[in-house]
Symmetry: C2
């Protein structure tokens, strides 16, 4: 299948590599391909420059957000939460219309010590806050902004390294979640997850559930800190 | 041990019954014991009147919040989230000073259809919002209001029916979480959880983690709805 991955961060690279490995035709989208390839320093998350990654993965194509999205039958949104709605709504309508868009972003707002009245300190700085939560979610904002697109929230409950390789965590018996208002789009996401190796995929219903999936980020981070960064998954035991 | 359970709701009754069954000396606290015993209708959550419950559990005592807390060596806070800080700070200082207070409340604010711009419909009404979240938590508010008390957040990640009986869910191999700023209080909570049957108890560190534990409520509710109310637990697979 032709799949677009929007974003060049560490999570996007996981999906690009895994999907290409599964035989899909993957195009990675970025705001400005020239600028992305010219970068020689790690990004704000410490991810190495994209040019080296692309050189190591010659099967992948790099294009603008618009060209990548237009080329994809399915689109994975790996644009950071703070920029996702603006970047997606700036694309030409046909690039996303009628397509499944799988969104795994967390709408983080990075904070400094002085920004927060009650800062939650971590080894890497103050815990980010969420720009959207509780009575709305980033995924719902994207869906409202793109009514012709079929948004599925998925992947967001764990690190993308383990989303694409669930069997590397414990026995591999843990749970992945999908939510959205379009059953056929959730089936597309579920098929992709099965190809990654997921055996327990729980449909959480309408896209309202994205509120819980995004807000789960703080819980995930607390567990991540407690385990000292050791990879983990979450199994719904029933 | 002498244990106070503050609150007479369904969750509080689970702990009162289980702890009495384990041989503890349990006092249940309520705002006005006379009013609690006089009630003949189910409460807003559909829980039957307390008088009948007490008649069925003659080992339990009922007292005011202040007298129950004063009698307890350990206190379990089952007062609803909206009222917890006010009710706890109204108690005489010595009733809670130096004691472990295990808090499992979610700071829910119940909403009507018209209150919410983007209501999340459920079979029982609009999903409540959270009064405190993201950059603070109810547990931290309680800890700041009661600096001489040792607050532990626990139990909150699942229904209290299964907190007190973890082996009734799946294989019983799922995870319970504790967070707090006082290691000895977390040990007290952990010992109580082991007596309930928990084998996997993860210490999430400082009380900041209560933010994630409380915000997990929306995720829990989404899973609960997806499973049609079937009991479940969450296992951290690592």
């Amino acid at each position: 299948m032709k799949i677009a991955i929007l974003g060049t961060g560490a999570g996007a690279r996981c999906h690009a590599t895994a999907l290409a490995g599964l035989g899909h035709d993957v195009t990675v989208g970025t705001r400005d391909p020239g600028a992305t390839l010219a970068r020689t320093e790690p990004d704000m998350m410490g991810t190495p420059p994209f040019a080296g990654f692309l050189a190591d993965h010659p099967g992948l194509a790099l294009a603008t957000f618009a060209d990548a999205a237009a080329a994809g039958e399915v689109v994975v949104n790996g644009i950071d939460g703070a920029n996702a709605v603006a970047a997606l709504t700036a694309l030409p309508g046909p690039a996303l219309a009628g397509k499944t868009l799988i969104d795994y972003a967390v709408p983080y707002v990075y904070q400094q010590e002085g920004d927060a009245e009650h800062p939650w300190p971590t080894p890497w700085g103050v815990m980010p806050r969420l720009a959207t939560l509780d009575t709305d979610s980033l995924a719902e904002q994207i869906q409202r902004a793109l009514p012709a697109t079929k948004v599925v929230k998925a992947f967001v409950t764990q690190e993308q390294q383990t989303v694409v390789a669930p069997n590397t965590v414990g026995s591999g018996d843990h749970t992945m979640f999908v939510a959205g208002d379009h059953p056929d789009a959730k089936e597309t996401a579920t098929a992709l997850l099965r190809a990654y190796g997921w055996r327990d995929i729980l449909d959480l219903g309408s896209l309202h559930a994205a509120r819980g999936m995004e807000m789960y980020a703080h819980f995930h981070m607390a567990v991540n800190l407690a385990l000292g960064g050791r990879p983990f998954g979450v199994k719904i035991v029933r």
